[in-house]
Symmetry: D2
Subunit: 338 residues, 4 copies
Amino acid sequence: MLNIGVIGYGYWGPNLVRNFSESGVAQVTAVSDMNPERLQLVKKRYPATRTTIDHRDLLTSNHIQAVAIATPVHTHFTLAMEALKAGKHVFLEKPLTETTDQARQLIDEADKRGLILMVDHTFIFTGAVRKMRQLVESGEIGDIYYYDSVRVNLGLFQPDINVIWDLAVHDLAIMNYVFDQKPVAVSATGMSHVPGKPADIAYLSLFFENNMMGHVHINWLSPVKLRRSMIAGSRKMVVYDDLEPSEKIKIYDKGITITERQALYDHLVGYRVGDMVAPQLENHEALNLEARYFADCIGKGEQPANNGQAGLEVVEILEAATRSMQEKGCTIELNAGS
Amino acid sequence: MLNIGVIGYGYWGPNLVRNFSESGVAQVTAVSDMNPERLQLVKKRYPATRTTIDHRDLLTSNHIQAVAIATPVHTHFTLAMEALKAGKHVFLEKPLTETTDQARQLIDEADKRGLILMVDHTFIFTGAVRKMRQLVESGEIGDIYYYDSVRVNLGLFQPDINVIWDLAVHDLAIMNYVFDQKPVAVSATGMSHVPGKPADIAYLSLFFENNMMGHVHINWLSPVKLRRSMIAGSRKMVVYDDLEPSEKIKIYDKGITITERQALYDHLVGYRVGDMVAPQLENHEALNLEARYFADCIGKGEQPANNGQAGLEVVEILEAATRSMQEKGCTIELNAGS
Amino acid sequence: MLNIGVIGYGYWGPNLVRNFSESGVAQVTAVSDMNPERLQLVKKRYPATRTTIDHRDLLTSNHIQAVAIATPVHTHFTLAMEALKAGKHVFLEKPLTETTDQARQLIDEADKRGLILMVDHTFIFTGAVRKMRQLVESGEIGDIYYYDSVRVNLGLFQPDINVIWDLAVHDLAIMNYVFDQKPVAVSATGMSHVPGKPADIAYLSLFFENNMMGHVHINWLSPVKLRRSMIAGSRKMVVYDDLEPSEKIKIYDKGITITERQALYDHLVGYRVGDMVAPQLENHEALNLEARYFADCIGKGEQPANNGQAGLEVVEILEAATRSMQEKGCTIELNAGS
Amino acid sequence: MLNIGVIGYGYWGPNLVRNFSESGVAQVTAVSDMNPERLQLVKKRYPATRTTIDHRDLLTSNHIQAVAIATPVHTHFTLAMEALKAGKHVFLEKPLTETTDQARQLIDEADKRGLILMVDHTFIFTGAVRKMRQLVESGEIGDIYYYDSVRVNLGLFQPDINVIWDLAVHDLAIMNYVFDQKPVAVSATGMSHVPGKPADIAYLSLFFENNMMGHVHINWLSPVKLRRSMIAGSRKMVVYDDLEPSEKIKIYDKGITITERQALYDHLVGYRVGDMVAPQLENHEALNLEARYFADCIGKGEQPANNGQAGLEVVEILEAATRSMQEKGCTIELNAGS
């Protein structure tokens, strides 16, 4: 049984506490938050859990082997570094850090100490995203043409990060998990509509090798809520609509067929239309699975798929996209997290 | 009664012939097409209409006052110029021409001769788009934040123009009609997935003054067909779904409220949520209305909203977008058709 | 090449003329309608077709081997009987006749003369309905639990028949084609909301043997248009939504599993949930296929699936349902068209 | 602050405990359940709440002024009667009782003792249903033509009540609340597909005076989950889709217009099509509102809208519908709960 402490009991912290508590492999020994009212809430729901306004109480406790950190992104680096130096495994909210430099330091520190550093890319633990990875890996989709995602709704404006860091992070984590290839360049556009606030609408284009493309539309100013991604390949096409109560994944036996003609350099395009299948998906709470995976990786001393490196690769794109957006779409090369 | 000749009886020509015939204000005197089989089809459907494989027969006819041209885009300039020089009013398929330079020459020629030059921006004659313009003009939507459009489906690949020229042209024509402001710069990304063919997927970002943005996603490789645009403003938000059998336009009384705080440069963002209204729209065939409008403009000697200048403004963006796409998103300044 | 005459060029007649003309196996030699204006329309569209206000001109013509009748239902019997007596094969609009007695007389007359009598049950020629029949026949759906259909919209009120005869006829024809079993009893409820007019909303319950049930909701007073049927069986369940542009048929690998327990008469119910498949359907115009089928049956001297007997079976249910509705749902036994 | 005891902590009981606890006007003093495991769950979540396997402990407690009963329907009468006789106000799960006779006895007992008897018709506390009542009451919908509801899904089969008692009870409670008129007769059809089990699919037709009709389709064997009701009136039409995340209520300015013609008894039907409005609805948890309403009625000594009489009126229809179903749709007269 893993003893874990949770730092931060704001918007997401309660989900972490609940899921680690119900994971069956961990118990939440203590929770810290700077706001005493939030701690009272913990006490009411979990009378046996220790609470404190000082997160260092968790780091100095011998009982606690790991901490989960759910605080604003500008505090991630400092808190996680403290925790690693105190010998704790770290489960850190996404995005991992504010900069790639910070991310690299955390990775190094964890490596040096043989500790697990895991970033909370929750979506990769959903049945839908796991199915997409399986479809890509098995070759069922064929060569990938593009990943296109729309993630828009009204609000919530974040005070200090732009809409890319708030919403696109999900799609970047999904792409990081589903595809082997890493993007080599990014172009982004976007805009703020509230004076002095970060961009509330943005568009990211990602360039991969082998004629693959990614695109993410994120938006805090949409009248309707949409969560829809498409993957098109040479053999199949997939639509993932996360707001569908069932049938979140639809696999279309549709596409183009390319025939080379006698004449050099000329190709004929044909169309293929077949059945659509909505496969039955694993039905579990993603965060519960992720909590158990974290405990499992610690137990076995294995690197998780969503380790610091995965977090770094996402942060690198977020950084580059923000810079491209400031330069009105100018392409920024990526180093694929190296 | 306007006597009109139609050049080109391929994909779109039959719609022109039918709608001009049924307009009540024009009659299709002659149709030309280089393919005799297409002309037989005309004969079968309209026994009284003259047919010819040589479009010049239409231009030399004294009975014919105007021609409608529905041929591939690379023939637009030459055919339209011939027609204008023969003293005919011209109704020209979109996009107007292959280049802005060609567009300017046609505009000059028409001006010089006092002839009407109209580009077939069909969508601006739909009840839905006219309603959007009215909502914007009346101030009901408030300051415009963005126009975002998704226009995707499987195929049809065009042999010689990319997906921007094929599909984005509709959104550019709609924006040209609905908004007063003109874009000042464009950034585009996109890709081809068939060797030697033009781009089949693309994303256009348009920058306007006053914090307004436009974005168009066009795609020939989508498993599902989508035709959805959103306009968000400071007072209302609109969703236009052209595939909805009824309720194509939905107006949301939703948005953000911005409160200036005491402290300089700081703003509070609030949310406003109210009713949604799907207004009853004018119900007519867009092309029929457009045919009557063409005859009307000729009769009154008035410039149409979709005149050569509107066509030029759209072509300028298409040109710049294609260039930006080749440069992976690099921003291209626009001169707003001047 | 079958020479056919069409009687009635009102709402549906133009579809018959067009589809027989384009069938490739028949030509429409003559059209009759009591309204000269309708005949002018024929002349304009089909200059080579003879027109007449007297349908008897068609019956006395030696060139004409068959007639298609698309007139109000109260004229069906008289016109069809005249045609049969004149030795013509008959293609008759649905519902076949106003009464079962009339239907039986037509069947007898056709039989006696060796002529084809076919009722226009258009839906059974759609790819969707044919797929449903195939799923039922092959046993893929298992034992049938029920067929449930909703067919509602605003208007059009018919002057002399109630909503059952106008809309339920489609579902009865579909059930007649898809299922082997025939209903043994019917219960119907419904109501008129316009003084002096026939019922505008109705509900039909059909009882079959072997625990199978049918239900049809038809309604001229619905704010939304719905065309959705469900078939549930012991192995699969099917949803048929005719308003879906694609994916009209969805097959659900869902259902219950019944386990007999030790204790006599006791059963445990479990649930089975699996993939959903939307099969690619044949894509053709139903009426075109039906026109070719009619010519084919005449050529081969074979009874069509939608022959007089099928029409009679549907009329028997319409008759009984109307009577049950007048008696507020009281069950009426059926003789399955015998 | 009302002290309440909850009897039954199975499927629905936890919702009652949570909502009464969070109501701000009541506290759950004690919970009883015959299953000790369920009580341990209570202890874990609410350490301060007393638990007992004997519901009589609640009835003899002087601290407890009211009980909420969430047990199987066959225990409702006995438990509620005991509670009333012990001087407790009673909040009773729907359906109120197994028979109208039982319902009348409970009503009498509550009246005699001046106690509040309330049946848990949760839906009438939703923003959507309250909006429908307001639309009907204000005359905005005009004369009511019908209420039509579809409430279907796969499972859960109830062991001892049929699908009418399980699902139609919701629609009957909604109709009871939304409309002034009471139904005067009912016809029902339905069927069981599991040997020895109650009906799993059923259709209810309700007859009102003034040409108003009701219909409810309830079904445990549907591959898709549907929760959709329509109300059509002479002035407006309403669609209520409870599965819509937002826009649950849509009001259509659609309908027919009836014009009397000169000739006696003859009417012309026209169609009216206008805007659709989806009004912003009150957004609260229905059960929370209901809990506060219960406490409020007790405090003021006022009869709730969903009192024993409302529960009786619903049970009368359930009883009659079950009987009609056994008689294959034969109409049963209702006494409107008198």
